[in-house]
């Protein structure tokens, strides 16, 4: 108890200094949490698009980005006919812009695709989809920001399209996106006869390995990956996740320097007090424990504050009109635990030098020079 009291007393003695250190950790944690959650959420949403009613994704081998992948339509038709395949849906991705919305994700799909067939249509009829080349269905949020309703014509990119329906999905990209008939999308994006990917559902998931081998044998320039495999191996996802953690780590490094500075000052200003503890039987380990305890407390309080701030930032981002639907603000316990652990490790690392210095203080010298 006294040990904890000593830790608390030392921190409260220089409140402003302690608070600044805590704020440093808090901002770092908030930044890390926000960036990681936003990017992980975005990755989750994108992989959700791919895994919609499917287990395997087939795309062009060695392509750096799915938007650049080109899968021949003939391959999609052939794969759909394989006995192990329940359905195979070609999907063409594209990015278009509209007035006031610089980025809208466009999905070129067939009428039988689950994204259309199983979506909740809030307006229009799904049977109308694909009847005309200039027909589109809008995600509900896309309809809101385009102020469009069924029957309207909307400008998208360099064209004008007729809205035949509005669908509501839980996926931000889909809800803020445009669904075009596949052939219309191929024409619009100058990718006639091709799609970006084929999403495949098998009758029996245990045949996934056999399916992937067949893809490899029949189409050497294509690759089939199960959803989990794809999420782990897709380079864009890996780059995004690594970037998020790297940005957060840089923030924490700065926070750690703040803690180190505070702890150094804290030790230097109470050399005599540490000497008193030593004279009263405190071991070097106990003295070190005090210093590490202080930095750990600063880090943990900073982390708690940072998590609160980060959650707030995420909510603000989620509610920002321009980002509606694109931000998944749900905090994942694993991410929170990693962020807290990193904050704690940063604090402890920051206290390393001060603790060693404190442990080496010779009581007799500190007391002699009163």
């Amino acid at each position: 108890m006294i040990f904890l009291r000593l830790i608390a007393t030392n921190l409260s003695r220089h409140r402003i200094r302690s608070l600044i250190s805590m704020a440093g950790i808090a901002f770092s944690v908030a930044a890390m949490l926000t960036v990681v959650t936003v990017l992980e959420g975005a990755v989750g949403m994108f992989s959700g698009i791919l895994s919609n009613d499917s287990q395997i994704i087939v795309f062009e081998r060695n392509v750096s980005d799915l938007f650049f992948s080109s899968v021949p339509e003939a391959a999609a038709q052939a794969i759909a006919s394989w006995p192990m395949v329940e359905h195979a849906d070609p999907v063409l991705f594209g990015i278009v812009s509209s007035a006031g919305q610089p980025i809208i994700t466009c999905f070129g799909v067939t009428a039988s695709d689950a994204r259309i067939a199983k979506a909740a249509w809030t307006a229009g009829k799904r049977s109308d989809f694909g009847q005309h080349a200039d027909d589109v269905a809008l995600g509900q949020r896309a309809a809101e920001f385009m102020a469009a309703k069924v029957g309207d014509r909307v400008p998208i990119g360099h064209g004008s399209f007729h809205v035949i329906g509005i669908v509501k999905t839980t996926n931000g990209f889909e809800d803020g996106g445009v669904f075009m008939p596949l052939d219309a999308a191929q024409k619009f994006f100058h990718k006639e006869g091709a799609s970006s990917v084929i999403t495949v559902k098998l009758w029996d998931k245990s045949q996934a390995a056999a399916f992937k081998n067949m893809v490899k044998a029949k189409y050497p320039n294509l690759i089939g990956l199960e959803d989990e495999e794809f999420n782990h191996s897709y380079s864009q996802f890996r780059i995004l996740k690594a970037t998020a953690w790297a940005v957060g780590a840089c923030g924490l490094l700065l926070g750690g320097l703040g803690v180190a500075n505070t702890m150094i000052m804290s030790v230097f200003t109470r050399i005599r007090e540490i000497a008193i503890l030593r004279v009263n039987g405190f071991s070097r380990t106990q003295v070190g424990g005090l210093i590490f305890g202080e930095s750990a407390l600063v880090s943990l309080l900073g982390a708690a504050l940072g998590l609160t701030m980060g959650s707030g930032f995420l909510l603000v981002l989620k509610e920002t009109p321009a980002l509606h639907g694109y931000i998944d603000a749900s905090l994942r316990p694993a991410v929170m635990l990693v962020v807290i652990a990193l904050a704690l490790m940063t604090g402890i690392a920051g206290a390393l030098y001060p603790a060693v210095y404190a442990m080496r203080i010779r009581a007799v010298e500190a007391l002699r020079f009163e």
């Binding site: 006294i2 008193i276 503890l277 004279v279 007799v364 007391l367 009163e370």
Partner: protein, 234 residues
């Protein structure tokens, strides 16, 4: 740590210095020049001499806070050196009282006194019982929850005395314990120091340059220029 059994004429020797030399600044300043001294269990001994004669240094050596350049320091039969169990010495064998009380100002009287028990890992209930007992005897029971800044000089020194005795050490090393107090408070603190030493059966070695106070001890030892000038045991 080498154990030794030593007896002097008046009882078991608990503090022993044999040919102890100590210098600072790479030998530029020699403070102790071959000190020989023995203190028997239960004795109260005043170590007198002018400032800078080496009294504090000798106390620090006995308490394991510093190491002799030459010679041997033996406390309770065990030699004190870097290979010894210095933590046990500080936690169990000796208690220190300094001229400046050396209390932690932001903690309460109670918390300051409990510090040695935290270091030693004494069970909390036992530590509190001991504190209650010492606080009662030093008249500090009503001040336990007060911060050090709120205490008078005499109360602070009494607090330091309580703290030094918390782990029931067998030896009390007091370095000018009344040096920062007025005459009247000095008298009260010294009386308490001697009473507690007698009551607890503690051996007291007290550095002082006040011969009036020194005369109240069982024995007075003179130090001058780093040497003991009177017989260490008379």
């Amino acid at each position: 740590m080498r154990t030794m059994e030593q007896e002097s004429g008046s009882g078991r020797v608990v503090l022993c210095a044999e040919g102890v030399w100590k210098s600072y600044d790479d030998g530029a300043v020699t403070v102790l020049k071959g000190v020989d001294m023995e203190v028997s269990a239960g004795q109260t001994v005043a170590l007198c001499g002018p400032s800078g004669c080496g009294k504090s240094t000798l106390l620090h050596l006995f308490g394991g806070l510093d190491e002799a350049d030459r010679g041997r320091i033996v406390v309770n039969g065990a030699e004190v050196n870097r290979h010894g169990d210095l933590l046990r010495l500080l936690r169990r064998e000796v208690g220190f009282v300094f001229q400046l009380h050396n209390l932690i100002p932001d903690l309460t009287l109670e918390e300051n006194c409990l510090i040695p028990t935290v270091a030693a890992g004494t069970p909390r209930a036992m530590a509190r019982a001991r504190l209650g007992e010492l606080a009662e005897r030093t008249g500090l029971s009503h001040r336990l929850g007060h911060r050090i800044q709120k205490l008078s000089g005499g109360e602070r020194q009494r607090t330091a005395l309580c703290r030094a005795l918390m782990n029931r050490p067998r030896i009390l090393l007091a370095d000018e314990p009344t040096g920062s107090l007025d005459e009247q408070t000095s008298e009260v603190v010294l009386e308490l120091l001697l009473d507690l030493a007698a009551g607890e059966g503690v051996t007291l070695l007290m550095a002082t340059h006040d011969r009036g106070l020194a005369a109240r001890c069982d024995r007075m030892v003179e130090m001058h220029d780093g040497r003991i000038h009177e017989p260490a045991y008379a």
